[in-house]
Point group: C2
Chain length 224, copies 2
Amino acid sequence: MKKGDQTRSAILGSALDIASRHGLEGLTIGAIAERLEMSKSGVFAHFGSREDLQIAVLREYAKRFVNDVFFPALKEKRGLPRLEVMFERWMDRVQRVDIPNGCVFVSGASEYDDRPGPIRDEMVAVIRSWQREMLKAANQAKSVGHLRSDADPEQLLFEVYGLLLSAHHDARLMRDPLAVARARRGFARLLDSCRKHPDADDSSDARAVPRYATLIPTNQSAFS
Amino acid sequence: MKKGDQTRSAILGSALDIASRHGLEGLTIGAIAERLEMSKSGVFAHFGSREDLQIAVLREYAKRFVNDVFFPALKEKRGLPRLEVMFERWMDRVQRVDIPNGCVFVSGASEYDDRPGPIRDEMVAVIRSWQREMLKAANQAKSVGHLRSDADPEQLLFEVYGLLLSAHHDARLMRDPLAVARARRGFARLLDSCRKHPDADDSSDARAVPRYATLIPTNQSAFS
DNA sequence: AGCGAAATAGCACGATCGTTCAGTTAATTC
DNA sequence: GAATTAACTGAACGATCGTGCTATTTCGCT
């Protein structure tokens, strides 16, 4: 590997760190230079502009996110197991509060929701991309027969993402140690509400009887 | 009202507008001055520092939030009706995408989750305050008999907040017009999952049969 | 080893930030 | 209406931002 490439990836590494703490908008060329003990212009030269740097960081973050959350889930068999692993890997990232790294997707959502431009476009595209991935998994769970035929995968993902966001909020801002457990509980309840049970006839009675994880007194994680 | 007081509230008004668009951290004294056509130092003089201004803005935002979301709900009778109105008033705020005003609590959550200091403390305190208010409403819904005796109000609020965050995300960043409808659907399903039904015996069978809003093919709001 | 290219440093620029302070205008009080 | 106080202006400061330009160092290849 050429020298330029390895400093470039070192820059990306530091930039990812900073962006996780202060958001993409809080990412600064000077801060990267200081951390890497090199000049601002030295850092700058590797990307044509700050915006290009931010987009590169966003892409790199997305790449690692997919590698970390989605790829491992592909080893699981199609359907609910895969979906559950995805969620669980995701929660693992939220749980690491000690090393303060907020999710770039979460901070970026409020940084760019009113700020049009290339970064916002890239952010939307990147989020869409792994949302499609999750949607595919949810649809598989349906076609494989793990979920009822009348389940709505998009609605499911909407609510799952809500659990993630709420956990992120409570764990990181409110420092609530129960946040992750609550998200897991909600996830379990959510799945149960659209799971097809072997003893229930799916087609004849759409209002069959599932079990509520909410009602099971859990003081422990659903995936302990 | 003295002259100073009315410019002060004019400053707060502009500041609220800006903070809604660019977050509390994106709030700038120069921007306020420009919008009000007065000098930076003139704006500055009304608050001892930028930080004090930010805190004042946060308090004012919280005040309006409570007036807008919680106070009207107190006219409803205790229990689920009150909780439902709270949620509905809240969703109304999310829905107004045309005038770009993101929620300060949402943007602030990722701005300050890794940034200790007075603003973060105030933000946590303010959020705690209306969370307590909602928790009270949920507890009333339980004691009044609208919710099952084994329902977990804190878990309920955690998931409701998730729906709000997800709606905020999808409506504002992703520009998904279905976002609010999805949140309403999730809310209805959530309530149904812990609602006490008149025909079901609450104590004898914790796994009684509720109805799932998820399964009702809604192309319309649950509170149309 | 030496040469060309790539990588990095150093410096300066205009802008904008929060903040200070002396001076001026405006509002309030008597 | 004059005196007093409150409100506001304007200029300046030091910091930091992204960026452009020109040296200088370092790498990679023959």
